[in-house]
């Protein structure tokens, strides 16, 4: 494997890892607080991507500055998070907290099936490709390789900002303290006057927005096809599980590992690129069954 291929694989892995980090960290955040693995998370990713692409086309059609497609991505992410995520939490998830995990899985799985059809109904099955954000920034030469600035700088930068932002909010702000308190012990925090159902709702919206944001960013560089949500949910679960569910910093490391692993596989053995993330997950879980960064939990008899 020559140096240039290795470099190319690394750059690909970085931008890919940044994307899956955004989705996986949302999944992990939701799990950390709500103790629910949201199977419909992949749908937020896909819908975020489609909405951002639609906004991008509107902007182009209305003749506004193409630079507006960047704020439009953010808008799409928050919009999807609030509308789709909020509705899902209020109508469905709220009724199943504390119930059997199998039921929670089934409910979110049902939501996922419905949202998959919704995507097909709204956006059809033909692939979308809106690369305005990608072409706006052009390419840059990295040691002899032409690489798009969007994938090289924007995606990883956004991921780092999100990571630092989340860390900061959870550790040093009042809101973060409240969220952490609910995560640690819901009943005790409620006794202290925390409105935990509000915390649940906002956490879910935040997690959903992160996934949608990941999708919105992906819409800038990849074509959107039906079924992308299904692929993403298991990939982000693989990342979250490799890191240990609920681990935010861990998700970044795992996303990077899996992103790099996958992009190297793309260049070496293209048939097996889909296998790579799960291979990494299996290997990690074989040695650390609760994930890389998990803490030891007591088992209730």
């Amino acid at each position: 494997m020559s140096f240039s291929v290795l470099l190319l694989a690394t750059l690909d892995g970085l931008s890919y890892g940044a994307q899956i980090f955004l989705v996986a960290v949302g999944l992990s955040l939701i799990f950390g607080v709500l103790r629910i693995v949201n199977v419909a998370h992949g749908s937020f990713y896909a819908i975020g991507a489609y909405v951002a692409a639609t906004f991008g086309m509107w902007i182009a059609a209305a003749g506004f500055s193409p630079w507006l497609s960047y704020p439009a991505m953010l808008l799409a992410a928050v919009g999807v998070g609030v509308v789709v995520g909020g509705v899902l939490e209020v109508t469905l998830l709220r009724r199943i907290y504390g119930k059997e995990q199998v039921l929670q899985l089934l409910i979110t799985f049902a939501a996922f099936m419905i949202l998959e059809d919704v995507q097909k109904a709204v956006w059809g099955v033909t692939p979308y490709f809106v690369n305005t954000p990608l072409s706006l920034l052009g390419t840059v030469s990295v040691m002899g390789i032409n690489y798009s600035v969007y994938q090289l700088a924007v995606l990883p930068l956004v991921a780092v900002v999100v990571l630092i932002g989340l860390r900061f909010v959870l550790r040093y702000t009042r809101v973060g303290r409240i969220v952490t308190a609910v995560t640690e012990d819901r009943e005790a925090s409620m006794a202290m006057g925390v409105d935990s159902s509000k915390v649940y709702l906002f956490t879910f919206i935040a997690g959903a927005s992160l996934a949608a944001f990941g999708g919105a960013l992906a819409s800038g560089s990849t074509s959107l096809v039906p079924g992308m949500g299904a692929g993403m949910i298991i990939l982000s679960f693989a990342v979250a599980a490799t890191a240990g569910l609920g681990q935010i910093e861990g998700a970044a490391v795992a996303a990077l590992m899996i992103g790099l692993g996958r992009s190297i596989a793309v260049y070496l053995a293209p048939e097996f690129d889909v296998v790579m993330p799960y291979l990494i997950m299996f290997i990690v879980l074989l040695f650390k069954p609760q994930g890389l960064f998990s803490t030891i939990q007591t088992r209730k008899v």
Partner: protein, 335 residues
């Protein structure tokens, strides 16, 4: 058990009459019975409170085994092809089981989903072996040594499948009533206690996992033979989701539920597909939510969440919580 047997006998008679009363439906019912075998696999795992979103993998394993063996022109008979399909699926599950049965609940479901999606994309990408997205055609094999035309084949395949399903259902019912099967219920209700009794719950689940994969493989094999075609979609999550859905629909309480569920499902699908093909998943999703929200009594086996909590309060009263009565009061609010 006696009651279940009666229901099973009634269903058997009703199904056995299909080729004479509604000959046009016999292929549809054969397919439904094949799918029902895979659903039965999911039901076995549901007994242990585990959901697999990836049983499509074993279903596809069985189907592709049959396809490969037929393409290899070994002249194997259906009576040999089907057991081989089950064995291959069980072997894969046995190996993967060393990994999978260490996990429960979310992890178990998602790891199964992950591995089945890997299988799906490999089936699609390894074009020269698996025929890629188009899949493989399966020429009609001999049945018990006879080479038949389409009409005869469909007729006899129907009864062969029915016989197979009956034998398998009785065996699985026997298994579930045995200590090995009862252990699965113990995994569901309180695994730690099971371990304190000196039973390895992982090993117990491992056996169930291999068995359930064998059932799924058998189902896949039947489908491959009857439809004459296999495709990567067999391993896709939608298919696995359907199995779980039918298992919930039919109720995981007894073995007959899996087949009744899949026959009902197949019939509805045949007619619903004509009206709203593109909203099929939406309908499944909404009915799944409706069953869980409004008719949890239909989910005979999924009510153990209540049982758990009831048992935590009154550890001695095992028999009452079996009925799910005691659980209702404590279920709300606690977590």
């Amino acid at each position: 058990m006696r009651f279940d047997l009666l229901i099973g006998a009634l269903v058997f008679c009703a199904v056995a009459a299909v080729p004479f009363l509604m000959p046009w439906a016999s292929v549809m019912i054969t397919l439904a019975l094949g799918v029902g075998l895979a659903v039965l696999g999911v039901v076995v795992l549901l007994r242990a409170g585990q959901i697999s979103f990836g049983h499509g993998l074993y279903y596809a394993a069985g189907a592709y085994t049959v396809a490969f063996l037929v393409q290899a022109r070994l002249g194997l008979d259906i009576l040999l092809l089907l057991p081989l399909a089950a064995i291959v699926a069980a072997a894969i599950a046995f190996v993967f089981g060393f990994f999978a049965v260490r996990y429960r609940d979310i992890f178990f479901a998602m790891i199964n989903l992950a591995v089945s999606m890997v299988a799906f994309s490999l089936l699609e990408k390894l074009y020269h072996i698996t025929g890629g997205g188009d899949g493989l055609n399966v020429a009609r094999p001999t049945l018990a040594g006879f080479r038949m035309g389409r009409v005869d084949f469909e007729f006899w395949m129907f009864y062969a499948t029915l016989a197979l399903v009956t034998v398998v259902a009785l065996m699985v019912a026997r298994y579930l009533a045995s200590p090995l099967g009862k252990g699965l219920e113990a995994i569901k209700s309180n695994e730690t206690r099971l371990e304190y009794l000196g039973v390895s719950s992982n090993r117990m689940l491992h056996i169930a996992y291999a068995l359930s994969a064998a059932l799924a493989g058998l189902g896949g094999g039947v489908i491959a033979i009857v439809t004459g075609h296999v495709a990567p979609e067999f391993a896709y999550w939608v298919r696995s989701g359907e199995f779980v859905f039918i298992a919930i629909l039919g109720g995981a309480g007894n073995v007959v539920g899996a087949f009744v569920g899949s026959i009902v499902y197949e019939i509805i699908r045949n007619y619903a597909a004509a009206f709203a093909a593109s909203y099929w998943q939406t309908m499944l999703g909404f009915s799944l939510i409706a069953i869980i929200m409004f008719a949890p009594d239909g989910l005979t086996q999924l009510r153990f969440g209540k049982k758990n909590e009831a048992r935590a309060k009154e550890p001695a009263k095992k028999s009452t919580s079996e009925n799910g009565i005691t659980g209702k009061a404590v279920q709300e609010g606690t977590r």
